[in-house]
Symmetry: D2
Subunit: 137 residues, 4 copies
Amino acid sequence: MTAAEQIVSEMMAHDSMSQWLGIRIIAISPGNCTLEMVVREPMLNGFRVAHGGVAYALADTALAFASNARGIKCYSVETSISHVKTVEINDTLTTKVEEKSLSKRIGIYWIEVLNQRNEVVALFKGVVHRSDKNWLV
Amino acid sequence: MTAAEQIVSEMMAHDSMSQWLGIRIIAISPGNCTLEMVVREPMLNGFRVAHGGVAYALADTALAFASNARGIKCYSVETSISHVKTVEINDTLTTKVEEKSLSKRIGIYWIEVLNQRNEVVALFKGVVHRSDKNWLV
Amino acid sequence: MTAAEQIVSEMMAHDSMSQWLGIRIIAISPGNCTLEMVVREPMLNGFRVAHGGVAYALADTALAFASNARGIKCYSVETSISHVKTVEINDTLTTKVEEKSLSKRIGIYWIEVLNQRNEVVALFKGVVHRSDKNWLV
Amino acid sequence: MTAAEQIVSEMMAHDSMSQWLGIRIIAISPGNCTLEMVVREPMLNGFRVAHGGVAYALADTALAFASNARGIKCYSVETSISHVKTVEINDTLTTKVEEKSLSKRIGIYWIEVLNQRNEVVALFKGVVHRSDKNWLV
């Protein structure tokens, strides 16, 4: 296992919410990650489509994993998400992460959430504060 | 029950994710709502504090309830959230909604998520598209 | 002059863009400021109403002045703005700033831009990074 | 001239603020545009680097031109920008637009502002409302 994989394994092992969502780690590298999950009935909202919190939580986990995979503890400062396509029960969601900017203290990530037909369902932008603490793995 | 309360009751009855979060409706009026929930273990992340998706999902439910409570079906277009204070297990979270702008097609809501000490833990801004469909209740 | 006023005077004296906009400082205190300007012809866009950059630049100046007025050099990390009402030539715009959150490294400000009828024309949220450099005034 | 070029020519001819910024149109097509400008002294802020309003106004003009170039009148609903690299006097700024999502009523655009060394200086996301009015050109 690479250092990036070790950090994210450790994070995932303690991440109850990502486990509840059924998130699986497909690939990890410093500043990047690919995650996958299937939408189940408890994740629907009052319109009986996926709650906005589902794509958000998936993208937010991807933000945490991608940014922390560089070995520095990172904390979310500001995130935004546009829900552009309805997500249905049994849809498989995947994340596509791009690290758009990295300075000493700030990292900015663009994350697209795609469905099983490779259609974009949500557009997410995340800003993290890069602390002065390192992961010891 | 007012029309606003009827709409939101119906939404809540079908909203599996909000039920999983344990969201309780405290008050509903056109363009506004107060919700409450308690953070439980399955809602924690890899740092063993509340996952960012928890405050987001609570605020997103509040956005849906407040905007739809005016009787017009509304859909989220763009949302942003800043997580400004760590949320711990057993914290009670409440929403404070302000309808900042309302035009024929667009509504903008500012939602603060507070903890049991009345401290702001998250700042959320939501933009909804107001469709041409009404709720029939 | 208070320290906050001295810092902002110095910033304003060097701020060519704010001068071009005709921004006037109405009040300054640590974490807050009230600014005012009148929309002129060179600030219009292709629809012959105020360019979105006008309300943005006014709010961004307010963000810089309010956050730096605490005596620590602050830099904008992420900003968002919703233009909710058309701004016309000769409108007088004013800023209303609220400091929503302040931690060691991050400050979050909510800024409303109002016109002369006290109507909200733009809703702005700004996140700043608080550096480890102080203003020496 | 294509219809897209005609629409944007007409917008640009009336856009005083874009003219003041010295924006030049490099390319236009439906849903896209490339713009260029040079930062001059009146565009600096109190730190004597480009005011945040400069990259914002350039990106906002690009948003208007790209979205309207499809032939439907579009209005900005919500925009966000991260300023990730300092912009200096005499820097040449260019826009790179991606149309990320397009539905009947909503368009979402991701716009990067680059300098003459092809470095990203600002990351902009714009959401427009697509009205039911067409451009007649």
